[in-house]
């Protein structure tokens, strides 16, 4: 394990070095990550005001709380692996990953976590500014705050594994961008990024719960904002753990099949 720890710490330095190479792109990245929730926040605040101060139990202050927490949670859980894989397979750089005596998921995980740690202060500062402007109201309870941390980490694990597995589609088709597009649109609606899931029609809500989407982003947000009961919180954590097991199994299977395909047709 000390070898893997060495890899993770070295990857951290590499990621840092890469991000500092492109300071401008770091700013652009930050803007895009703040702009997205900001747009929805403004839209929903306006809607709630025009419909008498509240939509489905969300007033302007609750929407502000929801989208600010969502921004932070999304920052922790998001990945860019699906774009990355398309590039790797297309440019043949994936061959080098296969030549190394380490499963490539470790480098990806290390890179992801490193980048998150490096950008965390920026996104926290952005959240603080948004909080000053939009004056969110939080109904925090001690147990929910405690349960939030594992829910957040599990959400990251579920999302990372789901997207890493989906990214392997690049082995079968060179047009992965279409698959990515479908996934991202589904995620936009079903993981609570456009609106709180409780505001969605029942069938969509059901889809979000049955599929992994709610568990990758929305669930920890709901939990922290006090919109999940004690029992449901426990069940939610178990569902997340269950998805991780399922995904690990799937990933192993798809990875092997993918490498077989890759090494059958040539790199």
């Amino acid at each position: 394990m000390s070898g893997l720890a060495g890899l993770y710490s070295q990857q951290f330095k590499t990621s840092l070095s890469m991000m500092l190479q492109y300071r401008a792109s770091l700013v652009i990245w930050l803007i895009s990550h703040v702009l997205d929730p900001l747009v929805y926040l403004v839209v929903w605040t306006t809607v709630s005001r025009s419909s008498g101060g509240s939509v489905g139990g969300f007033g302007a202050a609750e929407f502000a709380a929801y989208f600010i927490v969502l921004m932070l949670v999304n920052h922790v859980t998001y990945t860019w692996i699906m774009f990355e894989y398309e590039y790797r397979v297309r440019h043949g750089s994936f061959s080098f990953a296969l030549l190394r005596p380490v499963h490539p998921i470790h480098s990806d995980l290390a890179d992801n976590v490193s980048s998150k740690i490096i950008t965390m202060p920026l996104i926290l500062a952005a959240a603080a500014i948004l909080a000053l402007v939009f004056r969110p109201v939080f109904h925090l309870s001690a147990w929910a705050v405690v349960a939030f941390m594992p829910a957040l980490l599990l959400a990251f694990a579920v999302r990372f594994l789901v997207e890493w597995t989906l990214a392997l589609a690049a082995f079968w088709t060179t047009r992965v961008s279409a698959i990515n597009q479908v996934y991202f649109i589904a995620a936009l609606f079903l993981s609570g990024q456009m609106a709180p899931l409780s505001l969605l029609p029942a069938p969509l809500r059901l889809a979000a719960t049955v599929l992994p989407f709610r568990w990758t982003t929305s669930f920890p947000v709901e939990l922290l904002l006090g919109r999940v009961g004690g029992n449901d919180a426990l069940i939610g954590l178990c569902v997340q753990a269950g998805w991780i097991v399922v995904c690990l199994f799937l990933l192993r299977f798809v990875w092997r099949a993918g490498v077989r395909v890759y090494s059958a047709v040539g790199a």
Binding site: Q10, S17, M18, Y22, S95, R100, P101, S263, A264, G266
Partner: protein, 333 residues
């Protein structure tokens, strides 16, 4: 016993690709949507060879002969369609960690270095990936730095390096873990002559120092002549020749070149052999190999010879002949 075991053993190795094909034009494109025609292409068609530990062998063949496909099968990137491969006692396609730690593959046209950061950072990443102990890493890096003159390059982002500079860094990155088996696919492609020579002498040095087994492909015969006593010649996926470079020349050349310097060049030399060129007293003759001794004798006896040398034709010419014969055989069968 361990020393005598071959580092690489290949038996009847095959790789068949399924390619889809269609005629040109929109109609054909539409047809191929419903009815896709596929064809099997044998990229490697049953080759066998062995490499002893520490050998440096050149792998020659025209584009599309199956060289890269073979190297990829040897390094575990491609699954063979048939036959057996064993490298250091491992089946490469299983990609066992113990196997991957002992080999490397350098592809002249692809890069493993991270584009946006200095090579030194990529080296550090490789140190972590291959779990190279610090002191060993430091020592290897110092050696590579000296041999390849990396010093001033290491701190610059890789994207700002020239092709040759990048290649030197690529090779260094690929050898940091001191692999016992090194596969090189066109390591000098696109480089100028000085850089080619530098990389060549480096590879020779690496082979000497670590006793590494090296299999390399190159379009530059100078690479092969400088590094490899033995060559494998592959064409249309089949092995045409396996042996010493000198023997290849022997076998595939029917002619020798005689260069004579004469006191005067008025004599008609065509009675001795085919005159390739003749000016200012220097004549070049092409003579059938079995006649070389006799013609030389006659030239020396008949003419006022100042100097005379007998040469094999340039290696490029020999290789061209090998491929030409291979094509003839390929179409005959």
């Amino acid at each position: 016993m361990m020393e005598t075991a071959p580092a690489i053993r290949v038996r009847d190795l095959r790789k068949t690709y399924v390619v889809s094909e269609r005629d040109a034009g929109a109609a054909a494109a539409l047809r191929s949507l419903v009815n896709r025609r596929t064809r099997e292409v044998a990229a490697v068609d049953g080759i066998s060879f062995e490499l002893a530990a520490g050998e440096v062998v050149g792998f020659l063949g025209p584009n599309g002969a199956g060289k890269t496909t073979t190297l990829k099968m040897l390094s575990g990137l491609l699954h063979p369609s048939g036959g057996e491969v064993s490298v250091l006692g491992h089946a490469p396609s299983r990609r066992e960690k113990d196997f991957l730690r002992q080999i490397t593959l350098v592809m002249g046209q692809r890069n493993q270095l991270v584009w946006d950061i200095p090579a030194a950072d990529s080296f550090e990443l490789n140190r972590a990936i291959y779990r190279i102990p610090r002191p060993e890493f430091r020592q290897t890096l110092d050696e590579l730095e000296a041999l390849l003159e990396l010093g001033p390059l290491m701190g610059k982002p890789v994207r700002t390096l020239s092709l040759g500079e990048r290649m030197k860094c690529e090779i260094a990155a690929a050898l940091l873990h001191r692999p016992k088996v090194v596969f090189l696919d066109e390591p000098t492609i696109g480089l100028d002559v000085t850089m080619q020579r530098r990389i060549r002498s480096f590879l020779a040095e690496y082979n000497q120092r670590y006793g590494a087994t090296i299999l390399l492909t190159s379009h530059y015969m100078a690479d092969v002549e400088a590094l490899c006593r033995r060559v494998l010649v592959i064409h249309h996926g089949r092995l045409l020749f396996d042996g010493e470079l000198a023997a290849l020349v022997q076998r595939f050349t029917a002619h020798k070149t005689i260069v004579v310097r004469l006191e005067d060049c008025t004599t008609d030399l065509s009675v001795y052999g085919e005159v390739v060129s003749c000016d200012e007293g220097l004549a070049t003759l092409r003579v059938a190999k079995n006649l070389t001794a006799r013609v030389t004798e006659r030239l020396l006896a008949d003419l006022p010879v100042v100097d005379l040398t007998v040469e094999d034709p340039p290696i490029e010419e020999v290789i061209e002949r090998v491929f030409a014969q291979g094509t003839a055989q390929g179409t005959a069968t």
